[in-house]
């Protein structure tokens, strides 16, 4: 049952991604493509080359190109730095993997420290010592009773 639910969720998430790949919009590509002169994404730029790239993207969308095809054409013109995200192959793959590796190492280190801390914590001190003076015990009881009223 859980497997079916997980598969359904995966399909639900994959469908919009596939649609975006086949029918990209200018808006989403503007956030994924860099302006070569200003080093910001296109949606943050009003530079002439950013306008030109926007026109190029619109023309390619109209021509029916997929998102990957448009990005490939831009990379062929401006190099891989034109993409806001590094590609998911070759050396650039490290940029995707390393944050998760770092998170994993951090989580493991934290867990280990928490385990060590809980193990080394001194046992709760038990009340030992001489018995309480009966007179003091009576006064404490009276004070507590006064608070309860």
């Amino acid at each position: 049952m859980k497997l079916v639910a997980a598969l359904a969720l995966a399909l639900l998430l994959a469908a919009p991604a596939a649609a975006s790949e086949r029918h990209p919009t200018l808006g989403e590509l503007e956030g994924e493509v860099m302006c070569p002169t200003c080093k910001t994404t296109l949606d943050q730029s009003t530079a002439p080359i950013a306008d030109r790239i926007r026109r190029f993207i619109s023309a390619r969308i109209t021509a029916g190109d997929t998102k990957s095809q448009i990005k490939d054409k831009l990379v062929a013109q401006f190099g891989p730095a034109v993409l806001a995200e590094p590609s998911k192959h070759g050396f650039n793959l490290l940029a995707w993997i390393l944050p998760f590796v770092g998170l994993g190492i951090g989580a493991a280190a934290l867990s280990w420290l928490a385990w060590r801390w809980s193990r080394n914590r001194p046992a709760q001190a038990t009340v030992t010592g001489p018995p309480l003076d009966p007179e003091l015990d009576r006064r404490v009881d009276e004070e507590l009773a006064r608070f309860d009223r």
Partner: protein, 180 residues
């Protein structure tokens, strides 16, 4: 945890932090700020070999050794580049017989746009294409257009000209490079 393991882990952590710090310092120190010009300095012109816009194949700056080279960085979307193109063309026509080459470097531009620019403005001097703009930081180019002068020995002479170049500055730069 055994003391040796603890010390080992601490040493590893310190080494990792020191390594990252070292990388950062190396990056800052080796950041390409471009060649320093002016004050009589004549540094060697950074080398490159880029695809030609006007012909098949590549053109390397090294292949122009023995000639004076006027290096002009431009892009088709740059307005002042349009106004100065006829001046550069005139200089190319005037000085080419004296061993002067005007070389345009079209950067951060679509190849198709650049070819249309060359055709529309009647440019006949050689032009190369640097789409990613890899050569720009090596010269310290901060905007378009920008012009540099290389003497016959491959050294940059005079000052860089940022912005649209006048005929007077163009002639002055060429003269100085020829005399260098």
């Amino acid at each position: 945890m055994p003391l040796r393991l603890k010390h080992g882990l601490q040493a590893l952590t310190v080494a990792a932090v020191a390594g990252l710090l070292g990388l950062l310092i190396w990056k800052v120190v080796h950041q390409d700020k471009g060649v320093k010009l002016g004050g009589g300095r004549t540094p060697p012109a950074p080398q490159f070999a880029l695809s030609r816009l006007d012909a098949p194949g590549k053109l390397a700056l090294a292949s122009l050794r023995g000639k004076v080279v006027v290096l002009n960085f431009w892009a088709s979307w740059c307005a002042p580049c349009k106004s100065e193109a006829p001046r550069l063309e005139a200089a190319w026509q005037r000085y080419r017989s004296r061993g002067v080459v005007v070389l345009g470097i079209d950067a951060q531009d679509f190849t198709g746009d650049a070819k249309r620019f060359v055709s529309k403005h009647g440019v006949t001097y050689p032009n190369v294409h640097d789409g990613p703009g890899d050569v720009l930081p090596r010269y310290g180019v901060t905007g378009f257009p920008e012009t540099y002068f290389v003497d016959r020995r491959g050294r940059l002479v005079g000052d860089r000209v940022a912005g649209e170049i006048s005929a007077a500055r163009l002639n002055e730069g060429i003269r100085r490079a020829l005399e260098s």
